[in-house]
């Protein structure tokens, strides 16, 4: 899908990332329209943190994100399918280790 480029009225699409709690990663939650990054931050606050969903917000212009092409998914992701040995599932885990 084509990204929405900057519109003639000066508004642009921004992707919103929110950190729910300290220690967690910022996660993509959606997008807003805004005329600048500052406004995007305010819009993200108003749209996505109304129910205490976050303690930190990142905004990024959608146009600045390069996405992988779904048509190339075979080339990109298929080769990993038969390489199960990359998962650390062939080790015996000592009983003392509670979580891994």
């Amino acid at each position: 899908m084509e990204h929405e480029a900057e519109r003639p009225d000066g508004w642009a699409l921004y992707e919103i990332f929110i950190r729910a709690r300290s220690g967690l990663d910022h996660k993509h939650v959606g997008s807003v329209h805004a005329t600048d990054a500052r406004m995007a931050l305010e819009h993200a606050r108003d749209v996505y943190t109304r129910r205490q969903e976050g303690i930190s917000i990142w905004v990024v212009r959608s146009i600045d994100i390069l996405a992988s092409d779904p048509a190339e998914a075979d080339a990109l992701f298929e080769p990993a399918r038969d390489k199960v040995y990359r998962h650390p599932t062939f080790y015996d885990i000592p009983d003392e280790v509670k979580t891994l």
């Binding site: 329209h33 805004a34 305010e42 819009h43 109304r50």
Partner: protein, 264 residues
């Protein structure tokens, strides 16, 4: 209600009368503006602004609830926040005339909001050290909200004032139209003076100066011209309103007045 059936007011209630009036002024300012902003839900120029304005309306509604509840307690007549909001008539509303002005175009909405936010910010900063602990606590809570409102409305003021030719001229028109309502915010009358003397309200002069300095700074960034001080005075806080409040109240109070005691 006839005089014979009315219980004589308790002395404590009589003493608290100016304070009740003052708290109602604060409460009604927030309540009426919340109702105005509520009219924009589903009608704002963008989804994001729709939510932004609704958030501000909800903050103001929250302030109004706390203040109306306190006014009811001070009054001691058994009126709660809902009774005060929905069963008072126009002349009993004590909001400044500014907040009842119609939304107009987005420029009017933003200019009204900015003039109000800048006022509320200075006022509530002063009220944090009110001699009335309950008012001080409400002000401290509300101030966090007000700071955000001011960032929001100030941001739009600059963006549109210093925007296109069209947005600039609309903002200047809105500013010229709404400016005459600002002097009321700083005209101290007797209830104001009583409360200032009692240390409940902050003194008016420094408040006006701080407001004015902020307005000048933001208007400069917005490339908007400060209108001259109007000679006509408004008295909304004394219950003498512009023609707009009656319509607003008719809509706001319609349901509880038509179905008294109705619950969800």
């Amino acid at each position: 209600m006839s005089a014979t059936t009315t219980a004589p007011a308790a002395p404590a209630a009589a003493d608290s009368a100016p304070r009740v009036r003052y708290v109602l002024r604060l409460a009604d300012a927030s309540l009426v503006l919340a109702q105005r902003l509520g009219e924009l839900i589903g009608h704002a120029p963008a989804l994001e602004e729709d939510l932004g304005l609704a958030n501000i309306a909800l903050d103001l509604m929250g302030q109004a609830r706390l203040l109306l509840a306190y006014a009811g307690e001070l009054e001691g007549q058994g009126r709660d926040a809902d009774t005060l909001a929905f069963l008072r008539d126009e002349h009993e509303f004590a909001n400044p005339t500014l907040v009842e002005q119609p939304n107009g175009d987005f420029a009017h909405t933003i200019v009204r909001q900015f003039l109000f936010d800048a006022w509320q910010h200075e006022l509530y900063t002063g009220l944090q050290s009110s001699s009335d602990a309950r008012i001080a606590a409400i002000a401290a809570k509300a101030l966090k909200e007000t700071r955000y409102h001011l960032t929001y409305s100030g941001g739009w003021l600059v963006r549109l004032g210093d925007g296109t030719e069209e947005s600039h001229s609309r903002m200047q028109l809105a500013l010229d139209a709404l400016w005459p309502y600002t002097s009321e915010l700083f005209d101290a009358d007797e209830p104001d003076r009583d409360m200032i003397a009692a240390g409940v309200a902050p003194p008016m002069q420094p408040l006006a100066a701080a407001w004015s300095a902020r307005i000048d700074a933001v208007l400069r960034d917005a490339t908007l011209a400060r209108p001259p001080t109007a000679s006509y005075r408004w008295y909304g806080k004394q219950g003498r309103h512009s023609e707009h409040l009656g319509y607003l109240l008719a809509e706001m109070q319609h349901l509880p007045r038509t179905y008294p005691g109705l619950r969800w």
